[in-house]
């Protein structure tokens, strides 16, 4: 559900397209009803939990690189979300609200201790059809370099990229999480991908 930019605080403006996108994204209808029911019956939250536990986990794992830390952060996030359901206001998307909690949870952890990022994050590698089998390994290694380049992006671009791909949020939702406009969120993602592409191509040169 979306909020029209510039609308006064407390006023709800629901864009039908956002409702449809949410349903298509999560397969869940009537998100607001689920949240309302979950305020009195936690078990009613199950559909939303199941829809978002993997994106939240992916978001954390990409940041912290440790499955155990990602699990702990995921658990903390959902715990906080359930505790805050009474305070959830039906403006902006639930996904954006949830990932705002996730983001703050991550920042809290990073403030308490040094990040445990060790580069050991799950990476998917696509084979290059131009290369021979033995060079596929080399290719896989080079594409891991791409993954490593993500860590070199400016923090706002990196965050936008992770929210887009690993959390699966759309630009409008990312904008809500980051406190930016939708166009600004798209530009962050665009710049991030262009940077990755250009640096990756540079690494590809013999």
């Amino acid at each position: 559900m979306g909020e029209r930019e510039g609308a006064p605080s407390g006023q709800r403006t629901i864009r039908p397209t956002d409702v449809r996108r949410f349903q298509e994204h999560t397969g869940i209808k009537d998100e607001q009803r689920i949240i309302a029911d979950a305020r009195t019956d936690r078990e009613a939250f199950a559909p939303l939990y199941r829809a978002y536990v993997t994106p939240v986990y992916r978001y954390f794992l990409r940041h912290v690189g440790s499955a155990q830390d990602a699990e702990d952060l995921t658990a903390t996030t959902f715990s906080k979300a359930l505790d805050s359901l009474d305070r959830y206001e039906e403006r902006g998307s639930f996904a954006a609200w949830l990932f705002s909690i996730a983001r703050h949870t991550l920042l809290d952890q990073q403030r308490r201790r040094r990040p445990s990022i060790d580069g050991a994050v799950p990476i998917e590698v696509l084979p290059d059809p131009r290369l021979a089998p033995e060079a596929q390994l080399v290719r896989a290694e080079r594409i891991h370099a791409l993954h490593g380049l993500i860590g070199q992006l400016p923090s706002d671009q990196r965050e936008a990229l992770i929210l887009r791909f690993f959390a699966g949020l759309r630009a409008s939702q990312i904008a809500a999480v980051l406190g930016r406009s939708e166009g600004s969120a798209r530009m962050l993602i665009h710049r991030a991908i262009v940077t990755l592409r250009d640096r990756y191509l540079h690494e590809e040169q013999p």
């Binding site: 939990y49 959902f78 990476i123 998917e124 696509l126 059809p129 021979a132 891991h144 665009h190």
Partner: protein, 519 residues
Amino acid sequence: MTSAEKEAEALDQFIEGALRSRLVAAAEGPPVDAATALVVNTLHAAALATVPDKEFVRELEARLLHRGHDATLIAPRPDRGWRHRLEVASTARGWSGSWWQRAAALTVIVVALGTSLFISLPVRAQLQRAACLIPRLGIRACDAPGLIAPNPVSVSRAGAKLTVAALLSSSGKTIMRLDIMGLAAPVGQLPAGPLRTTLNDTSGKEYPPADGWAKWVKPEDPQSISAVAVFTALDPSVRAVDLHVEEPQPVGSWAVRVPVSPVEATKLPRAYEGPQGATVEGITVRIASIAIDSEGTTVQVSARSAVAGRGIVNLANHQPVLYPLVLRDDKGREYRERARPQEALPRLEGPFTEDISFPPLATDARSVSLVLPFVTVVEETAPAIIRVPIAGKAAGDHIPLQADLRLGAYSFRVAGADLVEQPPGAPASLVRQQRGSWLALQLDYGDWNGGRKLVGPGVVENAHAIQSSLTSRDGVSQFTRVSVPLSEASDGEAVVTFQNARIAIRGPWKLEASVPGGR
């Protein structure tokens, strides 16, 4: 809207198409350049490969929603004993079954099992008297008089292209790397034997074939073929050769002239031969050569195994970008491994050899040292077979399954199976070739045990099988998932056959070599 904003919106549409498409390679929306598409698809695939532990998901739901809220529900996490923590590599523990291992890193390597990779029997190499760093070939013997093709040469015909990517004539042999792309139809099953080629110089002299050939078809691009063709050494006065390929369709007939130049005229970086190496567990590893130029330092490491029935398949780690080897010089400086040369040819004779790339050595460096933490070998074993009932199952179904298998002296467990529409990381072209669902097995190979760690099977006999691996912090990649197309199943049962054991053997091998001054 500015042009930059329009580009950003168009890219976002492309991303949306990629994220919503089941096939990673397919995307809706406006087209983008190939490199951008690769970045987008790679990011998407990387995200898809990340899944939380199923038991964690279930436990968290139960504790959060069904048993009352507990703010400390996950910390401290109980150690269930049977869970593998790949990040703890220092303690060897008895393994037991788990259907998803925590990943320190995930690499999907599409292994074209069942595709046609023919390699002739290796011939023992002569001792290297002189070696050079040769583009696209790595460090190779370059005894004078030697000849190389200074640049790749290509010819095109009817949309297809043949490229002679590399040619070296030295130490009694001529080695060529060929790639033929864009054929009109899939190559299909390759007949045994080398690619049918002939090599002549411009005087008409023909050079007979020699051992060390190879040929293969890329599973994700069946309308291509690559090959290593080997002939006797060229006459030193030759300055061009004619290569002819005569294969049945769709490969067809090709002719290409390749200019060659004397090796010494090309000012290639010379390689310095290393000393005797270190031996651990019957495997002797040494720095065979080092070549240094302004672009980098190439260290050629070679190994021989004294154990019968064991072949060396990897000398360094499995993930040089994430867990690079470190070269140290005598001044204490460190040089971190770089991604390996993209087009270096495999060596098919003599000891197992790998070229490892580092940044350029400082000019005052006089010696280097390198530590290899493990070496990966394949040991011959009898087959291990698992039969999975799939009657009545459909894509999306999980098959609770636990089976203990053995590959020689090594045990491993099949810890579960899923029916999926697409194996993670599988190229779309391969998936399109195999209609229907896939059976994806989860495999648990355990941790280090007595200085050995089972990496996976040497071979999965099923045609079109895809393996994906997880890499732990020790740099070892274990093939923890095997997917086979269900189109090969029959009588309500899928049969998967493993053979030979791929094993990481822990060292370390501490290697040293001197580097002359005056570079």
